[in-house]
Amino acid sequence: MVTITIKGISADLGRQAVLTGLSATLRPGKLTGIIGPNGAGKSTLVRAVLGLVPTLRGSIEIEGRDLKAFSPCELARTVAYLPQGQTLHWPLSVERLVALGRLPHLGPMSRVSIEDREAVLEAMARADVAHIASRIATELSGGERARVMLARALAVGAQGLVVDEPLASLDPGHQIDVMELLAREARGGALVVAVLHDLTMAARYCDHLLLIERGMLVAEGTPAQVLTAERLRTVYGVTAHIDIVGATPMVVPTGRWPKPQVEGE
């Protein structure tokens, strides 16, 4: 079980301030979604949590210990990360790709252990890619590739998992597969954080949502608490049809808000 506490962090990209004094707590056991419009700072936030962007002010603590006190390998073993875009530069086989997740456990010259191999097989089974283990990862369909990339992140065996836009360019069926996999991992006791653009999927699967706007946390809570018509108008600039089905809201954006001005009016 691992908890990440973010205390008033600020970060710049180039000369632009991306995060300004953001505080939040990421807890294990439930699926946390980070939502917000383009350029709000969602990716920068998760990259800061992984030590990939330097923070100017504030601090990030993992289990009460400052992020800066972690060695790169130690941090990698604690929180696994799946970056945006499913980057893969060489045509590796699926199992070889998933095995990259074991790198934080290996020294420069050490050999792959039985334990590492078992972790890889288990990760492939959890992400349902064991049957395509010997296929070439760059030749897979988008849905298969997304699951393979997730298996790579699971193979790290970390207690925390951070995924950035895992649903990009997936059809609805594969989106559901990925979200169910993430929810399963979270309910198994892991800390799972996903940056999401699809509000319907976020509302349907996440237990906890953080809404980010211009580098600040503007709302957090259950999907029903966060996704209100008012906030969708002010933060996203859209009107939306919101239906409450059971405990989770169904969000369908319907138009721009404020409405585009028609000339001569």
Partner: protein, 340 residues
């Protein structure tokens, strides 16, 4: 699925016969290179000379002519092959290699400066030092220009610019120096040659190449992690800035030392990883050791070829490697074109 059925190329990621075959190849090439020359030496005489019982002529031919040439070919080839595999892995670009990126020409420029302006006469170590320094500057310039770009072609364009500039510098330096053989010498440095090398050349290259190989072979898994991009690699615990410095120094020192004795020989680092990749699981780490051995085989083979082809003056090594390398380069470019 049973655990022992994983992975296919376990555990090194290579075909099990690859390393033994390459080892045999290196030995065969080395023996052929030592055997070959205008004077035919019987195997008995060669063996006797190596064990110290041979006649003086055989000993002189072997130890002053053929052995240094063979050793230089093996060292330079191994270094260029490994440097190509490492640069391709680090930059995630199958076209990267020392000569395409301009590192070879820049190192050659440093060596030319050291030799023709008399710097190398002050102290023999200044020749490789200048060569390494100028290769390092070129690589740093290149990484600064294009290292962060996601487009592989930006890097190649930057490399061509650096390479052409350094090549022009070599021509200029040789034209300015009081040297009646300037045109010949320019060719030797730009196309590479290991004619008439002595043990002194071997001792110049050896420490640099050994240090370069050590730096490049340490922690090959960092290159594997980079298959996932820079963020992916860092999130797997790879210290990227340290890796960058280690590889930059490794390539500059190794290639600088090699080029200081051979001139700039193109395409070895491009051809060898390209040929070996299909025999591995295509991860960058699996390529390193075979590329080192394959480079030694290719360059020694090319050197045997230039000695066998009957031309009025001996062919330059770079001519042979370019004929082999440019088609490989074009195949990659055509593949890349689909993405333009």
């Amino acid at each position: 699925m049973p655990v022992d059925a994983f992975p296919a190329f376990s555990p090194t990621g290579r075909h099990p016969a690859l390393i033994p075959l390459l080892l045999v190849g290196v030995l065969v090439m080395a023996l052929a290179s030592v055997n070959l020359g205008p004077v035919t030496l019987s195997p008995d005489r060669i063996f006797a000379a190596f064990t110290g019982h041979g006649d003086t002529i055989a000993q002189a031919i072997l130890f002053q002519l053929r052995l240094p040439r063979t050793l230089v070919a093996l060292l330079v080839g191994a270094m260029l092959g490994l440097a190509g595999a490492v640069l391709q892995g680090y930059l995630r670009n199958p076209l990267a290699e020392p000569s395409v990126l301009g590192a070879s020409n820049a190192s050659a420029l440093g060596a030319v400066g050291a030799i023709y302006f008399g710097v190398a006469d002050w102290h023999p170590a200044l020749l490789p030092v200048l060569s390494i320094a100028s290769g390092l500057i070129a690589l740093m310039l290149l990484f600064a220009l294009a290292g962060r770009s996601e487009s592989p072609l930006t890097l190649i364009l930057a490399g061509i610019a650096v390479s052409t500039l350094a090549g022009a510098g070599i021509s200029l330096a040789l034209n300015l120096s009081p040297n009646p053989f300037a045109a010949m010498e320019i060719m030797a440095w730009l196309l590479g040659s290991i004619e008439n090398r002595t043990m002194e050349h071997v001792w110049t290259a050896l420490p640099c190449v050994m240090l370069g190989i050590t730096l490049l072979l340490y922690d090959p898994r960092a290159l594997d992690a980079l298959s996932l991009g820079e963020d992916g690699a860092r999130s797997l615990g790879v210290d990227l800035s340290r890796t960058r410095i280690r590889l930059l120094l490794g390539v500059a020192i190794g290639v600088g030392g090699a080029v200081a004795v051979s001139g700039s020989i193109g395409f070895v680092g491009l051809i060898v990883p390209h040929l070996i990749r299909p025999l591995t699981d295509r991860s960058p780490s699996a390529l390193l050791l075979p590329s080192l051995m394959g480079g030694a085989i290719l360059l020694t083979g090319a050197d045997i070829l230039v000695r066998l082809i009957p031309t009025a003056s001996e062919l330059k090594l770079g001519v042979v490697t370019a004929f082999l390398g440019v088609p490989v380069f074009l195949v990659h470019l055509l593949r890349e074109r689909r993405l333009w």
